[in-house]
């Protein structure tokens, strides 16, 4: 399985991630923009995507609601800024729990030998807004201590190898 790479630059309000998916960019683009596809993968398995409304045009809006097994709901919404199938998608992203923090997400879908390299660059309004965003709305995610330890080890190693 392809590895998710996340970068959190310390000095700009940005989160970047990369991931390879074994499908052509045309299909991956649809996975990101069509509700019947998004419902099947967006978010951890234990959260139901109970609302997935998409008005796919520049200036059009989308709205997603996740429901946890305990009934708690997490809402997300935003607006499409650029729709360039199959290579690029730009949208605003707001977690309903922190409606003042609007982020801008730029997804690019690049064809590679194994399928598609998804790159997402999220720009927040400020570094504290980014930090709050990353920490919020996902509190009920279950922890994978081993992955975290591995992350931590890798992170510390980057210091030693210099």
């Amino acid at each position: 399985m392809s590895k998710l790479e996340i970068e959190i630059p310390p000095d700009e309000p940005v989160v970047i991630f990369h991931r390879v998916i074994r499908a052509a960019p045309e299909l991956v683009f649809r996975m990101y923009t069509e509700p019947e596809h998004l419902r099947r993968w967006w978010g951890p398995r234990h959260l139901d995507l109970v609302v997935c409304e998409i008005d796919l045009r520049v200036g059009g809006r989308y709205r997603f609601v996740h429901r946890a097994p305990d009934g708690q709901e997490f809402g997300f919404f935003g607006e499409y800024r650029a729709i360039e199938p199959p290579h690029r998608l730009v949208q605003t992203f707001v977690y309903a729990g922190t409606p003042d923090n609007e982020a801008v997400e730029t997804f690019t879908f690049e064809p590679v030998a194994a399928g598609t390299l998804i790159a997402c660059r999220t720009v927040h309004s400020s570094i504290p807004a980014r930090d709050a965003h990353v920490a919020s709305g996902m509190e009920d995610g279950l922890t994978d201590s081993y992955q975290r330890l591995a992350d931590l080890a890798a992170w510390l190693q980057t210091g030693i190898s210099k």
Binding site: I6, I8, D11, A23, R40, W41, A135, L152, T158
Partner: protein, 115 residues
């Protein structure tokens, strides 16, 4: 899960952004150490290392105590875990999503109807 206040998280991230400071933390994972011992492998002066230690201390990642005639530094593993947990929630969301996406595109390409 405990979520750190923004300013503490910022301080921790700023402290961790520096490779020397990460190397100091890595050194401290093997146990408490004096400032001189910590400074030894680095090509910089002991005052420069002390400055880095102060940043780590202010970020809650390192604590110091005085023993005999020297300052001993210790890794505050709890704070480091808070920071890693913070990153972990984000990672989990996307890792879980992409694991599902992998399975989903697989069902589509094999022509089976997705369950």
């Amino acid at each position: 899960m405990r979520v750190l206040p923004d300013e503490e998280l910022d301080r921790a991230f700023a402290a961790l952004a520096d490779p020397t400071r990460r190397a100091i933390l890595a050194r401290l994972t093997s146990g408490e150490a004096g400032v001189l011992d910590i400074a030894e492998p680095f090509p910089m002066s002991q005052p420069a290392i002390s400055k880095h230690l102060k940043v780590l201390e202010a970020a809650g990642l390192v604590s110091r105590r005085r023993q005999a005639k020297q300052n001993l530094c210790r890794l505050e593993a709890g704070r480091l875990k808070d920071v890693v947990d913070w990153l972990g929630t984000y990672r989990e969301f996307w890792e879980a999503s992409f694991a599902r996406l992998d399975e989903y595109v697989e069902t589509l390409s094999t022509g089976r109807s997705p369950s």
